[in-house]
């Protein structure tokens, strides 16, 4: 069935009163409204902003307080640098799209973002791998700059897995990782707390947005 993406007008309540013939249209509108809620409005999403040091001599004696530049320093420590983003999935979290904000400096080394999904049994960061995931590389999928001033401050860019329902060869194969695609959640883990593990190289991560992918059509 088609999943509506808007709040459509509901039928008149009086159409449900005693003595009224139950019209198919009335029941159909209820079914459609509930499908919109379950498979559109209440899809899971998480929006992580990643705060970085705001130290700057521009602040004077105050020394810090807020981000002053539309870019973030790519520190020399950002090599195979790991983040773990916890995501409370829903029962219909089949695929997760990722949208990330980053700044990348290719003079610091090869630039990449790897993303995988893990279970969170025993609250561990090293839980069972559900999808070994994907890799964004420059220049195909990432925009990187050369700012040869030591620890660079490249401007923010966006990276996105897309939402396409593409065939996944085997989400448990580690080498090579797939190019960007939505991450796949096995049915047994839908509704669990998941760990979206992201590893960056020569790149500063500014924000990570995680989405359940909306499907236009679902089989009842």
């Amino acid at each position: 069935m088609l999943i509506p993406s808007s709040f459509r007008q509901m039928p008149n309540e009086q159409g449900c009163y005693n003595g009224q013939i139950v019209m198919g249209g009335t029941v159909g509108q209820m079914a459609s409204a509930l499908a919109q809620l379950s498979h559109c409005k209440f899809l899971g999403e998480a929006h992580y902003q990643v705060s970085h040091s705001t130290y700057s001599t521009l602040w004077g004696a105050e020394q810090y307080g807020a981000r002053l530049n539309g870019g973030t320093r790519v520190r020399s420590t950002y090599k195979t640098y790991e983040y773990n983003f916890l995501y409370q999935s829903t029962a219909i979290s089949e695929r997760l799209a990722l949208m990330m904000v980053y700044g990348a400096d290719y003079s610091a080394g090869s630039v990449s973002i790897k993303a995988e999904v893990r279970a969170t049994g025993s609250n561990s960061y090293t839980g069972t791998v559900l999808d070994y995931g994907i890799e964004f590389t420059a220049p195909t999928y990432l925009i990187s700059q050369s700012t040869p001033l030591g620890e660079a401050v490249p401007v923010d860019q966006w990276a996105f897995t897309g939402c396409r329902e593409i065939e996944v060869g085997n989400p448990l194969i580690t080498d090579p990782l797939d190019p960007p695609r939505p991450l796949v959640i096995p049915s047994a883990n839908r509704g669990d707390l998941l760990n979206v593990k992201i590893t960056v190289n020569s790149l500063s991560l500014i924000a990570v947005h995680i989405y359940d992918v909306y499907q236009l059509e679902v089989t009842p």
């Binding site: 079914a31 929006h47 916890l86 909306y214």
Partner: protein, 359 residues
Amino acid sequence: MSNSFTSTPTLVDPGRVTAAQTIRTTEVSRLGDLQNYLFATGGSHNVVSQAFDDLCFIQDSLAFVSMCEWKIPILSKAHDTLVINVSGYCPTAANATAQFTITMDDSTTYTTTISITDQSRYSSVFNQGTITITGNHAGDSATLTMELKAPSGQEAVILSVQANWQALTSPLTTGELETENGSFIPQGISRLGADLPLTARFGVESLANINTLRARGRVLFNWSGVESASSALAITQAGAPPRAIGRGDLPTFYSPAALFGGTVESGLTVKAYINVLNLGVGDSFTFLLMGNTLTLSANGWTEFELDLMQDELPISDQFGLSMYRIGVDERTANVNGIASPSYPPSSSGYVAGLTIIGV
């Protein structure tokens, strides 16, 4: 008469409820099942999601220091357990401790403490705590405050904070369930089976339930500055987190998120909650958010209902949904409401927290 539901949810085949078709009990039963599922689980994904680079969110105080504050939506009065997960570390066997407090609209508070057990960045586990709401409180949002303390001679570092309301389990309790935006009548599934009359009440209640669920909030953006960070390390190395939204944030400080057609026509609203600090008596400033010009004239949290007047983002085509820029506007007119060396947090009012809750 069990108010049960199935998960994964079952949808109603629209082809079975068109004119000239007999309405089977399967369809009616699924309508009731789906309502129960939605009340139990809708909106139980992340309500707080924020991450911090290493040595940024850091504390060396032996006593609790209040450092972050977020607004979170209240799903219903039956959703009484907030699950909080903290990633952090303290380089000693003695654990650092985070304390979370929910403050309801009537000022009632509920607290939990979480020991942070890792001793280096992402070395082993994140730590979890829960807050249980026991009273009956009005309001469709609450304030979540985070405090942090370290053991003697050590420093506690926070890497991320995640929270979500725990979904209810099947079956729902009997009787009317309250939300701030209306009541929800759970549907007795056995009453919707074969050989039982389909009451007028089922239709009326279903419509009311759908309207109640449509008004339930979902978090589209939630950010808190970090106050009172403290470290023995030099400020060049540690302890310089953002306290305020700054001019460098403007280009990308938003969530691309879906808003749904019919929101305004259904009488639903998108709300922004803004936490202002350090505003002098009689002072005010304007803040531009999603095309709205908001005047902030008091310290603490202020709530606004936003007019929806933005254009869709081009990324809508990818998502198949109408996606919008949910966050701060990148406009030069925003300069007075945004921290910069000309408006430093030490001497100007500043935005220390921003939460946007849509429907």
